[in-house]
């Protein structure tokens, strides 16, 4: 019974959504269910946020290594929570959006989160380089193609690409590196992307059916729990 009801819920909800695609009077149900999801996610945050606090408080209590940083996390979390929920340090207008320009919430977002985000994002520049260094090696046929394609595109996007292949005559202009780069992007790349996309579509259909029909039920836990 404990298992049957969830399976039934999944089946009914999934089926209704599939049918709604073909049934105009049901077309709003997608939006409704998305709203439900958003509301459930807020409730779930009690569990997530609670867990975050629990983990760091227990680190603090047991004086585990680096517990000092847990204090910082807890203070940051609770502080931001208070400022945002009670709209502290804003314009005083309770109806104003929480992130109105000039409010404390906005200032912290701007002065703390924005630099952290963009710096973390920019780490990619380093990792792109180290990954190219390590991965683009002509180990076998597949890796060689990976290397060649990446190399042509890389070269094609610098003035260097024009320099090294500028001598190629006009009638063979396709072999000039910038042109070759564009050709690779538009032809073999397009084919590969298309095959991947079609495959993904089929994979999703098959997995959704397994879930809706209750063939895949690992997420539901055990019968005796």
């Amino acid at each position: 019974m404990r298992r049957l009801i969830p399976l039934a819920i999944t089946f009914v909800v999934g089926t209704v959504l599939i049918v709604s695609v073909f049934t105009p009077p049901l077309e709003n149900i997608e939006r409704t269910f998305t709203l439900f999801f958003d509301i459930i996610a807020v409730f779930a945050f009690f569990l997530g946020g609670g867990n975050l606090l629990r983990v760091h408080i227990s680190k603090l209590r047991r004086r585990k290594q680096d517990w000092g940083f847990s204090v910082v996390t807890i203070v940051g979390f609770l502080g931001m929570l208070m400022i945002g929920l009670f709209k502290l340090g804003g314009s005083g207008n309770i109806a104003a959006p929480v992130d109105e320009t000039g409010s404390l919430f906005y200032i912290i977002f701007d002065a703390v989160l924005v630099p952290l985000q963009s710096t973390m994002y920019s780490l990619l520049a380093f990792f792109v380089a180290s990954a190219s260094y390590r991965a683009f090696r002509a180990k076998n046929r597949e890796a060689t193609l990976l290397l060649i394609a990446a190399f042509v595109i890389l070269l094609g996007r610098t003035p260097f690409g024009t320099m090294v292949s500028g001598w190629i005559p006009e009638w063979l202009s396709i072999a000039q590196i910038p042109n070759l780069a564009i050709w690779i992007m538009n032809s073999p790349n397009l084919a590969g992307q298309r095959a991947i996309l079609i495959g993904i579509g089929l994979g999703v259909i098959s997995m959704s059916l397994r879930l809706i029909l209750g063939i895949e039920r690992s997420y539901l836990g055990d019968d005796n729990a």
């Binding site: 985000q117 973390m120 994002y121 780490l123 994979g203 098959s206 997995m207 959704s208 029909l213």
Partner: protein, 421 residues
């Protein structure tokens, strides 16, 4: 007003009762009259625009939008002959509506040159009639008024008929093979190297006494890729429970945390070791993309996992995580259905599940006949897609290059079938 159009008002008044054939005839009449307009306007336009009052729009038609929930009425008309690209007098059109024969209200302002409008602020059960005011800088001209019309609610969207048929075909194939596998038919499934490696990877973590790190992407449960990641987690955590390895699973969404705990707990129970399970295996970090990445990167260098799973929906963080994982010497098994991130996983991880393989993984790992049957069903979908592409491309090539009309028909039919979505 030198122009009259045979369908102007009569057509619109009875449009609701038109049968399809009549509708076509009516539409042809409209098209025909358009030709007449042009033919006449050549000779009359100068005279008309110079001397006469502003011409209103003609052939105003109001029709229920087909296959919707009765929430839209489509209007179409022939623009005023004073609406010319060069030296035209029309500055714009105002669309007016009368609801249940009440007072007219302006519902839209359209630029010159427009000839259609969709009113999507209507309800079934009310009657609406429309007229259009063509405006110039100095004067305006009112068109005839359409007969009252109420939008219809349809229960089936026949525009999506082919979408339904093809979806039903593929679903039926999946279900058929699931059933036939259930009845004991042997199915072959090829090896997927990334999945073959899972046991070894977990075993390695056990031998080295280091934990397994499982990252289910950064999206919430409303992304199918996250669901795929959790179904794989179900199998992986079973192996982990059997081997008695440590698992860490930091997540970026509270719901994913809840679902993942449920999944791992079930695996431990199935392995007969429910007391070895702890909620601490899964922990929520933050919803913020890069905040999560910062924390996971830190966790990787501090805990030095022997095995890292990166399965689910990833964005820019894919490479940051995979490179850090690589730097601590972990075996990495990645998989995503976001084509833009696949190259980074291919470059930085030991095994990568490419798109479809991510969704097939849990079925493959389960090894259960019914699950494997669904994979065979997917292949039918691929076969259909391939056949359509080959036949379609051949027909298109023969038809368009050699001008064979039969082939052209096939080509256009296929195009129309697959554009029904």
């Amino acid at each position: 007003m030198p122009l009259t159009c045979p369908t102007a008002s009569g057509g619109s008044r009875s449009i609701r009762n038109l049968k399809p054939l009549q509708f076509i005839v009516c539409a042809l009449l409209v098209v025909g009259s358009l030709g007449q307009v042009n033919a006449q306007s050549d000779s009359t336009i100068l005279f008309d625009s110079a001397m006469n009052a502003l011409a209103p729009v003609t052939s105003l038609l109001a029709a229920d939008h087909k296959y919707d929930n009765g929430e839209r009425i489509d209007l179409s008309w022939i623009p005023s002959i004073d609406d010319q690209p060069v030296n035209g007098k029309i500055t714009g059109y105002g669309v007016y509506r009368l609801t249940n024969a009440g007072n007219p209200a302006l519902i839209a302002d359209l630029p010159s040159g427009s000839s259609t409008f969709s009113d999507d602020n209507v309800e079934p059960g009310s009657d609406y009639s429309y007229y259009i005011v063509a405006r110039s800088a100095y004067e305006s001209a009112v068109s005839v008024r359409t007969a009252p019309l109420s939008p219809q609610r349809e229960w089936l969207n026949l525009n999506r008929g082919f979408l339904f048929l093809i979806a039903a075909l593929i679903s039926a194939a999946v279900i058929y093979f699931v059933q036939s596998a259930k009845r004991g038919k042997k199915l072959f499934v090829r090896k997927i190297s990334g999945l073959e490696a899972i046991d070894d990877a977990v075993g390695r973590a056990t031998e080295m006494g280091r934990p397994v790190l499982f990252i289910p992407g950064i999206h919430d449960m409303d992304d199918v890729q996250t669901l795929a990641a959790l179904t794989i987690l179900g199998r992986v955590s079973r192996t982990i429970a059997d081997y008695d390895t440590k698992i860490f699973m930091p997540v970026a969404r509270s719901l994913v945390m809840t679902a993942a705990r449920e999944t791992i707990k079930a695996s431990y129970q199935a392995a007969g070791r429910p007391d070895a399970y702890s909620d601490d295996m899964v922990s929520y970090v933050t919803d913020e993309q890069f905040g999560y990445v910062a924390a996971v990167d830190g966790l990787m260098v501090r805990e030095k996992p022997a095995t890292v799973f990166l399965l689910g929906s990833f964005f820019a963080e894919s490479l940051i995580l995979a490179e850090t994982g690589n730097s601590v010497g972990a075996i990495q098994i990645a998989g995503t259905a976001r084509p833009a991130q696949l190259p980074f996983f291919i470059a930085a991880c030991d095994f990568t599940l490419i798109g479809e393989e991510l969704f097939a993984a849990s079925a493959y790992l389960a090894g259960e006949p019914r699950q494997l049957g669904s994979l065979k069903g997917q292949d039918v979908g691929k076969a259909v897609a391939m056949v359509v592409i080959v036949v379609g491309a051949l027909a298109a090539t023969l038809g368009e290059a050699w001008d064979i009309s039969f082939m052209q028909n096939i080509y256009h039919w296929l195009s129309s079938v697959f554009s029904s979505n």
